[in-house]
Structure formats: C-alpha cells, structure tokens
Chain length 351, copies 2
DNA sequence: CTGTTAGCGCGTTCAT
DNA sequence: ATGAACGCGCTAACAG
C-alpha cells in the first residue's frame, strides 16, 4: 500500500470519528458555533461591529476546521471578481510563445504588484481575430480590469473599447490620438540614445532590425533615424523582421549572407540583437571590431551575451507598478494620464 | 462623427425608447424576450431541450444587447471556479523574478493547454513561509486545481497536501516516495547524456554547476556523476550556485578567477550555462577549445549563445500538455501515474 | 417545450 | 451585539 492510500485510510477514519467535519460554508460554521451566519460573516471579514470575544471564538473554530471564506461567492456578492486579466495580443507574432524574456519579467512584476493590492492575475494569450476579441473577453465578466501588454497591431480595437470601458490600461507606445491609457517607455528617446551612441562611436553605415508595424518599434525606429544627421539618417537600412529568436536569426543570417556590411545595428529588442550577434559571429564579423550592436530592453541575459550587449534599458518593475497603479485608479473612477518613462543606455562590449 | 459616437447616439436613443436597456442578467433578457429565466439559460448554454427557433431568437436578442452570461455566477452555481492556478514556489530563490525563460515557455504552453480545455490560468508566485502556504491557498477556493512548477525545497509540503487534495500536479523530479503526482523529465538520464557527451569528447576534469537542494537539480547531478567512470565521477567538482543569471555569473567568475580550470562543465540549466560561457569568455578561456559547456532546458536563446550552447533538451510543450491532462484526469477522479519524459541532447558548438 | 422554485456561499440592510 | 431575510446571477430539478 502506498503512502497516499495510507493517508486515505487515516483520513476516512478521522472523518467517521468526527461525525461531521465537512464545514464548507459559513452556515456549517454557524451551526457548530451556535450563532447566525451573519455573525460568522462579520467575524471572518472583520467588518461590522461584533463582540471581540465572539469574534475570536469563531475565528478559532474556523481555524480548527481549516475553514476559509469562499472567495468566489464573496466576490459574486460584492459584485466583483477579484481578478485582473493580463492580455498578450499576439497579432503580429502568431508563433510567438511568450518567448520574449521581457514579457516574462513584466509578468513577474505584475504578479507581485497585483498580489500586493489583493488581486489575482488571470493570464490570457489572445490571438486577435477580427475586432471582437477584446469586447468578448470583457463581457465575459471574468475580471475587474484588464492590462494589455503591447498594442501589437490592435490599436484600433483598443481605442474602440477604451472609449466605454474604463478599467483598462495598456503597456505600449504613447500617442496623443490614442483613447486608451498607456504606460511605457519613451521609445523615440530610446531610439535617439542608440543613434547618438553609435554615431559617437564613429558608426555611419547603420541598420535597424525590427517590425515597424508595431507602434513601439516604429517609435524606436523613427527616434533612431531622426536623431542622426539627415544624410546618415536617410541611409539607415530598415530590415524588417519578426521578433522571435528564430525569425530574427534567419533574417540576420540572410542579411549578412547577402553581403550587407553595416558598421552599426540597432535592434528593436534584445532578443533580436542576440540573433544579430549570433549571425555576425557565424559570418566571422567581429563585434565590436567591425560592427557595433545595440539592443533594447536590457533583459536579464543581455549582460551574459557574448560580447555583453549594449542596450537601451527599460525599468520593467517600475512599469509594472505604474500599470497596476493607473488601472486601480481608473477602476476607482479617477482620470489618469499616460506614463512615459525615460529609458537609459547601458553600454557594454557589443558596441 | 466617428462610429463610436454614432453607436452611442443610437444606443441612448434605443435606451429611451426601450425604457430599460441595461441588460445585466438573464432576468433582464427574459423580460425583454418575454420568456422565463430558465429558457434564457437553456438558450444561451445550449443545454436542455428548447425549440430551435426560440433559442435562435433569444440568441439574437442577447447578441444585439452585447449580453454574455456572467461566468462568475455560472461557476458559483456549478460549484466550480473555472480557473486553474499555476504556482511558482520560490523557496530556493528569493530574488528570482520569474527570470528563467524556461518558466516563461512553460507558462505560455500551459496557458494554451488550459484555454483549450476551457480553463483560465491564475498565476501566483508564492514565497513559501512555513508549511501552511499551500493549504491556505487551496482553502481559499479560488481555483479548481493547482499546477505547481518545480518542487523547490517544498517536497514535504507538497506531499502533505497531495494526500488529501486530488486536483494537484507538480512539474519536477519524480520519486517513488513522493505522494504528489509529477510530470517532468528524466533528469538522471539527462545528466547521463551530458556525462557521456563530455566523456566522449575526451573531457576528464569535470564540474557541475547548480543547486542540489532542488530535487530536479540533484537528479541531474547524480545522473551525471553516476554515468561517468567511477574515478572520473568521484572527481567531479560540485559548484553550488543559485540559478539566477546574476548569482551564477558571480559564482562562475569567482570560480575561474580562483584558478579552477575544468575541461568540461555541466550546468543545471541553460541560464547557468550562459553565465559560465560569459565568465569563461571574460577570463580568456576558449570554448570549446579549452572547455566544453553543456546546459539543460534548451531555452529558445540557447542556440543564439556565443558559441551556440550544447544542451539537454526538455520538450516543454509536451510537458505542459501532460500537466494539464493529468490534472484534469485527477479532477475527474481517475488514478494517474507520473509522467517522465526522456530528454535529448542537442549538440551545438559549445562542446 | 417552457415556467416555477430552490439553492450555490456569501454580505448587508433592518430588526430586535 | 446579534439574528432573520433577501439577493448577487446563474443552473437544475420538478411541474405542467
């Protein structure tokens, strides 16, 4: 007999000997304690007036039976769900399995920030189909609010919904024409940082790797180009690539194989930059000797790249806190303004 | 006037003319349709017998009003929550902010697999304190089942709970003395793969980097050592390190700085292996010339490392599917057996 | 084929 | 200070 079976035997025995131990609701507990359900409710929630000693007595009975209020029922009664959804619209990257460490870090910090405020985090990946996905999700009523990571190519959908659904904030690019409230980095400024850095290093033959149909990436690109002297900016090579490791590696490899030899590359994310480093190494291109590479995000492994990656750093923890803060304030009916954080450049050996 | 404004006008107009348009419950909808609530319920859930044309009529009214069943209430009534918790016990890594891409990939696949089965994914990071964290979480009743990623140092807690709480599965190391049901890789076999590979490459002075208080890592270590000829195995250098990028980089750097010069290193995860590569590069140690490095996991960026990382591959997608599958079967009352998948070795240039 | 009724587990007036 | 009664939005017998 294995250990689990042993436990079962023990358990059913104790069940039998205690006659009725299954306390599944405050009604059961009320019966045991010899009080009314409302008294139990008051005791366990700490709300409402109640004699201290009654409260303690009921508390200890509850503890003794391992009883906890059913949060689902509590939420139903309170007209809330106690959960916030984190949505990752993957409109531009069908095959992307949350593979970007940036998402990962953001998710972790969001989980922390939401837990601090007493909310659960409901994770949902959505593959946007048509215009209805967001409304449909919201009408499901599973959550009290929505945090969307990245506009993807769905800005229109987000705006349409934001007009009548308050509890929603978006991590992404700010744009004054946006109806939806954003938290994000100043991507243009980040692009400019990369541009000045490469220019100062004497780099003149530049390329940008990324997918400019995504608003944030477009801003990085334009910030990059606009911060360069006009003739240099005009000659920047825009290399379009999806941002998964696989896709970007293929693009970079093909790019070098075709004989392209820029002396500076600004990649729209660290993942893409790592692919560039890898493809360059394969082609015998020396980094930073022949080529300087700058990424974006400063994901944890950026400094462990070979060579360590120069990158534009986003403060993900602060971003997560801001997202939660703004969301809760919108849920409380406040009017809030978008938040745009200034990124830093972290100079390492890849440039 | 944009479309949204048009809708509002139309909407408020119909509000006025319909007297009460806020349809927030099936009761409202029943009133509008002139039927009973149960008819609406049957129409919208598709359960129970109902005249096809009645069903269609109610459906279209619901659609017209953008009405959807309140899932929270539905779940309360059905005695379920419709959500599965994914718990990351970080007992051995306080500072770890979900930074490991392996977790991320797992999370993504779990989100997919659960969504396929109609469940939401509730993400929760737990910093185990004492023995009560798991029971307390479960008694909260927020979820129908629990998936735990990694045993961390909490095997005892998991076993205690598994004895009386069926809907729980664990990603981690299998052990016949475990009461909890595990899904995972054959970590011993993985370690053996690494050992044979390094040995075949002529490597004799070997080291293992990892934290053997974590069961999975201990199995990798022992599988590694045991697959080597006794005298080689006995001389394997066990280098203890936490598995975050930062911590492992420091450990690796200090290790090389102290003059240690193994010719083969097996790292307990790819993240640790990347740190080893980075520290080696810094010390001018040539990989794979002087040193072969083998990781574990095959995270997406492993192949973009410099040099590309040889690693023991785990099929994360299959693992996620198995976790969900076993969990649902346990929830259905079935007896299930642990699943242990055989990992592969992916040979790249780092060895 | 459809309506009536009784809860799921809880919080909250309104009484006492 | 405590209890009784009602309802959050929904489903599932049981009637008819």
């Amino acid at each position: 007999m294995n250990r689990e079976a042993l436990w079962r035997v023990f358990f059913s025995h104790s069940l039998a000997s205690m006659e009725e131990d299954q306390v599944k609701s405050i009604a059961d507990l009320a019966r045991i304690a010899g009080v009314s359900v409302s008294t139990v409710s008051r005791a366990l929630t700490g709300k409402g007036a109640l004699a201290a000693k009654t409260r303690e007595r009921i508390q200890s009975i509850a503890d003794g039976h391992g009883f906890r209020l059913n949060i689902a029922a509590q939420n139903l009664r309170l007209g809330r769900t106690g959960a916030i959804a984190v949505l990752l619209p993957l409109g531009h990257e069908r095959g992307q399995h949350l593979s970007d460490p940036f998402f990962m870090a953001m998710l972790g910090f969001l989980a922390d920030a939401l837990a601090d405020k007493g909310y659960d985090l409901l994770l949902s990946r959505v593959l946007p189909e048509g215009d209805g996905w967001l409304d449909a999700f919201i009408r499901g009523g599973r959550v009290d609010g929505v945090i969307i990571i990245g506009q993807s190519d769905q800005s229109g959908v987000l705006d349409r919904t934001a007009g009548r659904y308050a509890p929603m904030v978006v991590w992404g690019e700010r744009n004054d024409s946006h109806v939806h409230v954003t938290v994000g980095s100043d991507n243009r400024a980040g692009g400019a940082l990369a541009a000045r850095h490469l220019f100062d290093r004497g780099r003149r033959k530049l390329a940008f790797f990324g997918n400019v149909t995504v608003p944030e990436f477009a801003a990085r690109y334009h910030g990059f180009v606009d911060a360069l002297p006009p003739e240099i900016g005009a000659s920047v090579d825009l290399v379009t690539t999806r941002i998964t490791p696989d896709a970007s590696l293929h693009v970079a490899a093909a790019y070098f194989a075709a004989g392209n030899r820029p002396d500076g590359i600004f990649a729209t994310s660290d993942v893409v930059a790592l692919s560039v480093l890898s493809a360059a190494a394969e082609q015998g291109i020396s980094v930073p000797g022949d080529l300087s590479v700058v990424g974006f995000d400063d994901i944890p492994i950026a400094r462990f790249a070979n060579p360590p990656l120069t990158t534009i750093r986003q403060d993900i923890a602060a971003g997560a806190r801001n997202l939660v803060d703004l969301l809760l304030r919108r849920m409380a009916g406040e009017d809030v303004s978008p938040v745009q954080a200034m990124p830093d450049i972290i100079v390492r050996e890849s440039s």
